[in-house]
Symmetry: D2
Subunit: 335 residues, 4 copies
């Protein structure tokens, strides 16, 4: 097991999945310590830095990578375990953005209204205390919120030789924007091209489910991952595993279809893990499953279907890769 | 404070919201102990009782009531606190149903496929142990699941003199099918007609979010509620309050519009509770809110937007009605 | 064959389908000459009459009826042939309405924007010339548009003892808002209650597909219909037949589900009319069908699936009821 | 004006928009005679050639090109006039395809059903008679349908350096699958990269609106186009102009958002063409517009918003480029 470092300079960041030369090549089982910039490319630093002024489309939501994983071939599963996700600065940014968000006219749900006000919030981040602090822009209301860092954007090169903006969540992963992607979790992605071409970005100090206003508490991150490959086990859509749960995702519009994809996948996975037939698996998921929202603002919407491993008997996914990677993670970051 | 009993005979059950004479009239602050039948009208008692054979449309999903609340006038808010929701039998039922559910051709998402197999599951219910037990129909897989009883259907007479099937969730409440409607929670409904005309039914021993297969662990219930009226405070859509959270709901299709309604309402409620302006409230909800799915199978889909009261400062909703009703509840059911 | 007159006074208009005593009882094959008021109840008469001021919810979109048809029983088909639809005045109204329309924040697609401007347009109507004239409110632009009168709202009492606002389109008909409902067309509705309880309203001098701004060129109408009953032939959703086309409708959200319902029904109808199996009927509809939009603004959205009878061989629907009613129509209104 | 020939060999066909070297470079005003293969790559030639067997994902829906247009820069408008679209063979193919179509479980609207039967239909094509003939696969039903050839797929390299499968319709054009793209029409596309990089494919002898079964009457085509560039006039979404109509398109899910995009764009275009303010333009579109369905089966759904030029006064779009290209077309193909 080797530990790699990947700390790109600004001009080395990329803005899409697919079509890039690898920034790093690693072996299955290796550890990568990497840095990610925030979704604004670090250009928003005060409430006066309006994103629509200081950022330039399509140079939004940079990702670090891609990382080629040796031996990963189309049809394989890439496992990405998040050992640690640590905010790199003592501040973070959120904002509205013209024509973006769940409760505003957008380019894909266009109304005849003018755009909402563009407003920036700067959060204080205290990693040791585990908090980030919201301060209202009008009045003196404050709320100290728990840090719950995760990566909004993690994905591989898409199938069919596509090249997709980093802001799109889909079958290759990408901008899923689900708070479930936190440290301690293993993400399972399909491999579509040799080497998989993993990239990571869009760190969030925390985010409500749905990412209603369009952005989370956006932050640069120092992150440690462990990667592995399971031959021939490519899932159709990204899956996650934590110590307590298995999770399927779906990213498409409308939101009920994202829900359907995630639940359909979880029913199939449950059947695979338990030997239940499809309808029995459907029944178990129907009564024991959770369905938290990922995002309802990106180019596709994301839903998560989540089932406690405790109801799955002694089932173990992918031959225990989650536990194996967790052990590696412990060896490098403690915990 | 008076305690009423409401235990309808089968022929006294009703199947819609609106247009019924009251089965009981109570005063604000009163307690009602009531019985509800399951969504099958109790007709499904074994795996051989196929719902499509033993039930007859539209006599599905019976509700108990309506209960007229004295002094409730259009524009008022009806508060319904669930003091206790207790399964009435030691078994409960779930099933698939032809052309119903999130992962099957339905009458409103029609495909050219034949209906899925209709299958019934009988759960063992142990109220003292707090469990209900799933048994697969094929093979010997079992899972002991925690009891988490709630009512899928709670509502009042709709606005505009409408009369809606009890299986429809909408602005009047109805078949919201969210597990958040458990004991200890206060539901806030708009009053549309004099007396509000509250009805309750569709008890669930537990349910996964989304109610994917179309039914929960369906059970008759013995339930105790406390009702109250807040003058002139009608919410646009049903809201809930627990000890830890305020929650807004939206029920419509597509699912992203149900999400939008619930989040839009929660943003407005947050602004009201804190004095934040709209965009600051949006920001707080965006970073601190939860968005669990209610149902994705009924005539409207339901989403819940949920915010911890801890991030709202010392805000108190509706002049503390939740705490007041909780105190009454404690006096009658303990806890 | 008897010809009836039905010209309600304002206080006799109704605002919902279901739950009303018949205003008139007729026999199958009878003719009814009836008057309908516009969707504003005639209260908007100049550009200064803002609907949100002069109209009062829920007293919008009045319908004339209901008309009981002798012998119509649940499971039967009610055929309604439009012999003539004639604007009653030399002016008509269109408007925007706060929180209503396809390109604005609404109560069911809520955004954080203020409502769009409420604006009224008065059209000149010239029945003899067959025109209605649009005049811009700002500047002097005019456009003379062809009259194409139809009824936006035609329906029967709903199933399951429901009572629905007249602005809702669904399986019982109602506010379909499709320009296909013009004179010369026969509408086929399911009978849900004895007598069917037909009601008609919401005349439009013309309307673009989708009714984007939320209202058409709204007008009181003098209309002549011929009704008939086909025993046991209730369609699942409203169907229409013109001299050239058979048409199925679907009314639900999201719009793709309205599309699915209408196409699914048309595939089934095509199979019935031709003897084709389902996939062959699907193929024929896929290559020869049209799919014009009805409305994308009401409580349900409406799509129409439309197939030229010329591609159906010599198939005749419902034993030729359209031709029979057309002959009756000719005998009373000429043409 | 130069006339170019572009007749790719099979291995020269491409399957995506973006990231390809130009196959041909032309000047604004030039004519290109080009050949396109059908969506199956010509591999389906009889009812026994099942597409899922003889075709290999992602090598579906090949396009001819890309064609670089000199001087076309990001922000410009590319005008593509279809002078002639002529079926290349005397037969054409349609089929169902597993997990594809509007009335079946798909990868993005997944259900628990098995896929529908995969079935192929072979149409006789008679270009001189202007017909294509449907023959049922079961029974002896036939229907002679009018030829109405068009290209389902026409687009340019996408913005943001994306590379999209040719089966995706979006802002760059692509697989719009609208029958409006017939000979005599001018398509307006945004230019996103130098040279625009136009590609054309997916010829259809005809297609119903919505492409319900997932495929049209698919055929190789011999097509003649004329291209031009309007500086700085890039539309946000593809627009079309025929002799009688201006048309806007929207391609996204859900279908009501595709409708919104197309209508929103048409309202804006109407305002630009007439000088009307936004609400007056909305009113005119609402009463005079058409809204035919494009496709409800692809990775995005497509709606068309269509307005007769007769109601727009003497407005001329883009300084008359449609008329100019039509004149060139006449000079090369007659008509």
């Amino acid at each position: 097991m080797t530990t790699h470092e990947l700390h790109p300079r600004p001009e080395q960041l990329v803005y899409s999945f697919g079509g890039h030369e690898p920034a790093l090549t690693v072996a299955p089982g290796d550890v990568v310590r990497l840095s990610t910039e925030d979704c604004f490319g670090g250009a928003v630093r005060s409430v006066d830095d309006l994103p629509s002024v200081v950022c330039e489309f399509p140079f939004l939501n940079p990702v670090t990578g891609p990382i080629a994983v040796e031996g990963a071939e189309p049809g394989d599963l890439l496992a990405v375990h998040f050992a640690e996700i640590r905010p790199a600065r003592d501040w973070a940014i959120s904002s509205t953005f013209p024509h973006f968000g769940a409760l505003t006219t957008t380019h894909t749900t266009p109304m005849l209204h003018e755009a909402l006000e563009e407003r920036v919030w700067v959060y204080d981040v205290d990693v040791e205390a585990g908090t980030c602090t919201f301060r209202a822009r009008t009045g003196d209301f404050e709320a100290v919120l728990p840090l719950d860092p995760f990566h909004g954007t993690v994905g591989v090169a898409p199938a069919a030789d596509e090249r997709l903006m980093s802001i799109t969540p889909a079958a290759h992963g990408g901008n899923l924007d689900t708070p479930e992607m936190r440290a301690g979790v293993t993400l399972y992605l399909p491999v579509n091209v040799p080497g998989a071409m993993l990239a990571v970005g869009d760190g969030h100090c925390r985010q409500g489910e749905g990412e209603v206003c369009g952005t989370a508490v956006e932050a640069a991150m120092e992150t440690t991952i462990v990667v592995d490959v399971v031959k021939g086990a490519a899932p159709a859509w990204p899956r996650l595993e934590s110590d307590g749960f298995v999770m399927s995702t779906g990213s498409v519009k409308p939101l009920e279809d994202a829900f359907r994809i995630s639940q359909h996948d979880l029913v199939g996975w449950t059947a695979d893990l338990t030997g239940l037939d499809t309808l029995d698996a459907l029944q178990l998921v129907s009564q024991a499953g959770l369905a938290p929202t990922g995002n309802v603002v990106d180019t596709n919407y994301t839903m998560v279907a989540k089932l406690a491993k405790s109801v799955l008997g002694n089932a173990v996914a992918y031959d225990g890769v989650h536990e194996r990677l967790k052990a590696v993670a412990r060896s490098v970051v403690g915990g």
